[in-house]
């Protein structure tokens, strides 16, 4: 039976209404993603974002100096503040993820990102998976996505109309959702590599966010589902935006001898080589 497809359960259709619902959901999500454009290209939005950013920084400072109460900010408040990165800092963010498939197998990966402030526009990232070579990509403040090809020592780049970039902020958005949900519970202290840490757990118990007990900085993010889960060990470092640190965000500075190729098709080909499994 294993080698005879006719002996397997027959193929079935998705029920019509479910197929329709899935299609509509997919179109809604893809439209949402297709319409997503860099906010900071519009001056008004940029101005507003700067003002909001400053307000967040001011509020963060006020809360840290204990203006709003005698007990100081809660661990949730500290964790929220820790995720905010002012524009004059470079965020160095490392993720080491392991997926437990629940069947004795697991998959691991690692990402390392350097990002200018909370901007999604200027960043450089190195992605490493267990079964492919590391891939180094970047996004510039001028609106270009780049990928470095070590085989040819070339940086291939394309404008946003051609390129497909992922925000490096997926974890941050998920963590902020949890912290802003109002239903996250603080679940006591835990020691992680000798650090005093605190567990923040979602209402349904499927998410656990472990942060430094003093600073609220991220240490670990866990998701659990039926038959497995993901654990991501996090390293979060904020660096002053000095010349040397700004170079960490810039792919060209990291590979000063590399050629620069702006042909869109060459960029696509280079991305396909860098991410052979998509």
């Amino acid at each position: 039976m294993l080698m005879d497809p006719h002996q397997l359960p027959e193929q079935r259709d998705l029920p019509d209404r479910r197929l329709h619902a899935r299609r509509e959901h997919l179109l809604s999500e893809t439209s949402r993603r297709a319409e997503r454009r860099p906010l900071f290209r519009r001056p008004l939005v940029r101005g507003t974002a700067v003002a909001v950013g400053l307000a967040v920084v001011v509020l963060g400072v006020l809360s840290l100096v204990n203006v709003f109460g005698s007990n100081g900010p809660s661990i949730v408040g500290k964790a929220q503040a820790a995720l905010e990165v002012p524009a004059n800092l470079v965020l160095h963010f490392k993720t080491a993820g392991t997926q437990d498939n629940g069947d004795g197998t697991s998959v691991s990966w690692a990402d390392e990102t350097w990002q200018l402030g909370s901007s999604q526009q200027s960043w450089r990232r190195i992605e490493t998976s267990s079964d492919v070579a590391p891939a180094e990509t970047a996004h510039t403040g001028q609106g270009y996505s780049q990928v470095y090809d070590p085989a040819t020592n070339t940086i291939y780049q394309a404008s946003e109309s051609v390129s497909q970039t992922d925000s490096p902020d997926t974890f941050k958005a998920e963590a902020m959702n949890l912290l802003n949900s109002g239903s996250a519970k603080v679940d006591g202290h835990v020691a992680v590599d000798g650090r005093d840490a605190m567990r923040i757990v979602s209402a349904d118990g499927s998410l656990t966010y472990i942060v430094d007990a003093k600073t609220g900085e991220p240490i670990e993010w866990q998701t659990k589902g039926a038959g497995g889960g993901v654990t991501m060990r996090l390293t979060f470092e904020k660096l002053p935006a000095l010349s040397d640190n700004l170079k960490l965000v810039d792919l060209v500075s990291q590979h000063p001898g590399a050629a620069l190729d702006s042909d869109p098709q060459h960029y696509r080909d280079a991305v396909a080589r860098a991410f052979p499994k998509g």
């Binding site: 397997l8 193929q11 079935r12 998705l14 209404r17 899935r22 997926t170 998920e174 993901v230 696509r268």
Partner: protein, 201 residues
Amino acid sequence: MNNASDRELWDNIVEGDTSAFGDIFERHARPVYNYLFRRCGNWATAEDLASLVFLEAWRKRRRISLTHDSALPFLFGVATNVLRNHRRAEFRYRSALERMPLPQESTLDEDELVGRLADELKMREILGVFSRLPKREQDVLSLCVWMGLSYEEAATALDLPVGTVRSRLSRGKARLRELCAGSGHMSSGSAKSQAEQEGIC
């Protein structure tokens, strides 16, 4: 239904045409859904994973140049990665999945429900034996034997040389025969005898 080829649709998808992507979904949701079911053994999980596969395909649309007239080998490749990395994919699309409206009522009649339950029991037994193969051989066997892909299409799906697909298929088949014959790959004979009794092999 749009009569354009997958390749023509994909050219539009790369430019951000979501309607063309809807056409690709309608064309290929069924085989992707069935492939996922045959790999995971649960219809509901297969349905959720199918959504992840198409969301991932959209994300990767600009990285892909279709090398076959059909987008299906590429989609099977994405599906294979999603099966392997589904927790990570779920993490990536958690917000999107939360926006997925839940079915208000069962859309299946009683016969269909019973049939699907029987499918799941049968597939679980089959996977009990099949999962003893190395994952790389499971991938090739399930695509070539269960879903009927050519060597070239499976090579595209799995991003492997055609020769590697052939050799893994050959090794996988041989190993399956050994499993079914119980030549030391079954533990204490119980799985083997169970598999034989249930007609899995």
